[in-house]
């Protein structure tokens, strides 16, 4: 029954999407405010019905309704409740429904806040409606989550055990909140083109959405990488897998977009470029969806490959690029040129940022798509490490200058003077790393130096704004937004360098009672016991970590066997002291009770994700300032938090 309700809700959402796009596009053309109001109402309706459809599917999962094909294929009665729920989006059909739900959520937000005024927001809703129609058709025609299965099986096939993990339960919703959010900035950009107005108005309206999307995407990518780190048992956190790249590319472009939007809003520079970049950002989201959903590219992630789905998304992608670009070409004579700026100015900093990030996104795209030319070719991780890390290093050198240089005309001498301590701190960090750890590699030292340069540069900028280091606490909250975002990047850089360059590794067969040394610890294998989990049985191995002959802690990595899914997974044990992870995982079991034990000491590993969280916090602060300002403007009060994100 719920299946039919869900199906009905999707059909109603489709009908309302038609009304939403008609009212949103036709209303402003005829200056009919009733049509625009209808579009807003329809957008709220689309959200309600998408939520109902999503709720119906969730209900089917929770109650293990195996008459629904997707539930039978991806769920099981013995699965813990949280994984029944996260199983909703742990497969193609459900994840597309989630895509749709989040798209309608953004539409509902545009309809509610009406940022940019009634006309502009109505046009944005019109575009959002068109995207919703495309994806509703996609879901209904190629990936119906409510498809029935007859006869109904007694038990489901279960969910891939690797996906039964709290980290992964939240990863897809955050990721989608991020890259579907790029649809909102895209919609506003197209609305601006329809109005032939490329001034700051649309940028001001769209920036909160870009910030929301960027923040969610940052957290989503971090959650995915954290999941890979602790469940895949390779001790790595990023594999340059096509599916990872699919989320990284929109992030890179969104980062560029945030900066160029700032320039357009503050100084009127890069007006047309910001429009194009908004279109590009959403295109990269669609490319990501295409890569993930069509299965054209080999990935360690397993996907059903269905050419029809791929073709459908490609079609949406083509239209979303071609139509706005044609519109752009048509409107170009009416668009105003960007404001001029001096060579030494914040705009130049943002220009370098955009240039490097755009080229980096293209580089990742080339590497990811290269195997399409010929399936017997693949692009190895060293390609990405060389290219992307080189670009990242160039960018990191420039980043601290950005917020210090003034708009239009900056003073390099003054900026260098402000950053003198940051430069010194970076140099000290490099020397200290050589002294305490080991030289490692030039790349590693460069990353540590640049990481500290970014963090110290952010602090120097805050001190400059506050007048002195001590008065930083007195700055308005919004002032920390940029500093946190840039500083977070530095923290992540240090984590990445530590984990990849300075990690130590041990692979050894350990029999009960035997021990091996790693990173100042002795690891002693004590024994193995059988344990029963909710839907698995496991060999739990106890390994004591000893320092100076005393047991510091005991860890219990597990080898889990899931009978339903006929799969074996390894649950690694990670002991972290905040600065260093001891990562222990199991290989094969030997007949004499021994285990192939793999252990890593990953210095600074927690910094990888800590940095992402700090950067996301910066994004949230920026968003909070925007919201407060908007509320203040609505109440007619003077805008609060002055000079926050200058």
């Amino acid at each position: 029954m719920t299946g039919e309700l869900g199906q009905l809700a999707l059909c109603l959402a489709l009908a309302l999407s038609l009304a939403q796009s008609f009212g949103g596009l036709w209303g402003p053309l005829k200056n009919d405010y009733r049509l625009m109001a209808m579009s807003r109402g329809a957008a709220l309706g689309v959200f309600v019905f998408s939520a109902l459809a999503f709720g119906a599917l969730t209900f089917a999962y929770v109650t293990s309704d195996f008459s629904v094909l997707a539930v039978a294929q991806n769920s099981h009665t013995a699965k813990p409740l949280i994984y029944k729920i996260s199983g909703v989006w742990g497969n193609h059909e459900g994840s597309m429904l989630l895509w749709l739900l989040i798209l309608s959520l953004y539409s509902a937000a545009i309809a509610t806040f009406k940022a940019g005024g009634e006309r502009l927001s109505a046009q944005a809703l019109g575009v959002q409606g068109l995207i919703a129609i495309s994806f509703l058709l996609f879901v209904l025609l190629t990936s119906n989550p409510f498809e029935r299965l007859f006869p109904q099986p007694f038990e489901g096939e279960g969910l891939n055990p690797l996906l039964q993990d709290p980290g992964l339960a939240f990863h897809p919703p955050l990721l989608y909140l991020g890259y579907v959010g790029m649809s909102a900035t895209f919609a506003y950009a197209v609305a601006a083109l329809l109005e032939a107005r490329n001034d700051a108005a649309w940028v001001r309206a769209a920036r909160p959405y870009a910030l929301t999307a960027w923040t969610a995407l940052t957290l989503g990518i971090a959650a995915g990488s954290w999941w890979a780190y602790y469940t895949l048992g390779w001790g790595g956190f990023w594999f340059w897998d096509p599916v990872e790249n699919a989320s990284l590319m929109p992030w890179i472009v969104a980062t560029a977009l945030l900066h160029s939007m700032m320039a357009t809003e503050r100084s009127g520079a890069f007006k047309s470029w910001t429009l194009l970049l908004s279109i590009a950002a959403f295109s990269f989201s669609l490319i990501g969806t295409f890569l993930v959903r069509s299965g054209v590219i080999t990935s360690v992630h397993a996907f059903a490959s269905d050419p029809a789905r791929g073709v459908f998304i490609l079609l949406i992608l083509f239209v979303s690029v071609a139509v706005p670009l044609t519109l752009f070409a048509w409107r170009a004579p009416k668009l105003s040129p960007g404001a001029a700026f001096e060579t030494l100015s914040r705009e130049t900093g943002i220009l370098i940022n955009n240039l490097v990030l755009t080229v980096a996104a293209v580089a990742v795209l080339i590497g990811t798509l290269f195997p399409l030319l010929n399936r017997t070719i693949s692009v190895g991780a060293p390609y990405y490490n060389t290219v992307v890390l080189s670009f990242a290093a160039i960018l990191a050198i420039v980043v601290p200058f950005g917020p210090i240089l003034a708009w239009r005309r900056g003073n390099l001498g003054a900026a260098l003077y402000t950053l003198r301590f940051a430069a010194a701190a970076a140099a000290v960090a490099v020397v200290a790393t050589i002294a305490i750890a080991s030289p490692g590699s030039a790349r590693g030292l460069l990353a540590v130096g640049l990481g500290v340069w970014l963090i110290a540069g952010s602090i120097s900028d805050l001190a400059r704004r506050a007048g002195s280091l001590r008065r930083i606490g007195l700055l308005p909250l919004g002032a920390f937004s940029v500093a946190l975002a840039h500083g977070g990047l530095g923290v992540t850089a240090i984590g990445v360098a530590g984990t990849t360059v300075w990690k130590s590794e041990l692979i050894r067969i350990l029999k009960p009672g035997e021990s091996a040394a790693l990173g100042g610890y002795m690891l002693r294998l004590d024994g193995t016991e059988q344990v029963q989990g909710p839907n698995y049985v496991a060999d739990r191995v106890s390994i004591s970590l000893l320092k100076d002959g005393k047991v510091v802690t005991v860890v219990y990595p597990e080898k889990r066997s899931f009978p339903t899914e006929k799969m074996v997974t390894t649950d690694a044990s990670i002991r972290s002291n905040g600065l260093e992870d001891m990562y222990i995982t199991l290989g094969d079991k030997r007949e004499d009770g021994g285990w192939a034990v793999t252990a890593y000491v990953n210095p600074m590993a927690p910094f990888i994700w800590l940095g992402a969280v700090i950067a996301a916090l910066g994004g949230m602060l920026g968003l909070a300032v925007k919201i407060r300002r908007a509320l203040g403007a609505r109440a007619g009060a003077p805008a609060g938090a002055k000079g926050a994100v200058t």
Binding site: L355, T376, P382, T598
Partner: protein, 152 residues
């Protein structure tokens, strides 16, 4: 030319140089890091010179897996027509099994044994790497309608 125009020109030139440098970096890195994939039959037909890194894929031949007392493991990768011996030292992925699809990254030794640096795991056991499917199809060992179920 006015100084303003001159400055603009210099600016554009700098951008151009940066763009070209970026493109050059991409091309060079790509050329150095492209990995080729060979099936066991390909390897028998056209032996790759020792030391060159590439990927090999097929099925783990049933009965070929030999573990020594330590961490060294040897097995054969087959596509039904030919098979290639592979040596690997380290912990294998959980999904490594006889009769299952596998992709290994490494290089050939002068004695003909493929020394794997990395043995790739897939997240889902019913999933077969497309390259392996292609290789099996070419050797006529692929049965249509084999499972293709998706995970996330």
């Amino acid at each position: 030319m006015s100084p303003k125009k001159q400055r603009r020109l210099a600016f554009a030139a700098a951008l151009l140089v940066a763009g070209v440098a970026g493109a050059a970096l991409i091309v060079v890195a790509l050329r150095d890091n492209v990995l080729f994939f060979y099936s066991p039959s390909d390897l028998v037909a056209n032996p790759v010179s020792p030391g060159q890194t590439f990927r090999i894929g097929g099925l783990v031949e049933t009965g070929s897996v030999v573990r020594d007392q330590g961490l060294e493991i040897t097995f054969k990768v087959t596509d039904g027509k030919a098979s290639v011996p592979v040596r690997y030292v380290g912990a294998l992925p959980d999904l490594f099994r006889e009769g299952q699809g596998v992709v290994a990254l490494g290089s050939r030794q002068p004695d003909g044994v493929f020394t794997a640096r990395e043995v790739l795991a897939k997240h889902d056991e019913t999933y077969m790497p497309p390259e392996v499917v292609d290789a099996l199809k070419r050797s006529g060992r692929w049965e249509e309608g084999a499972p293709a179920k998706g995970g996330l």
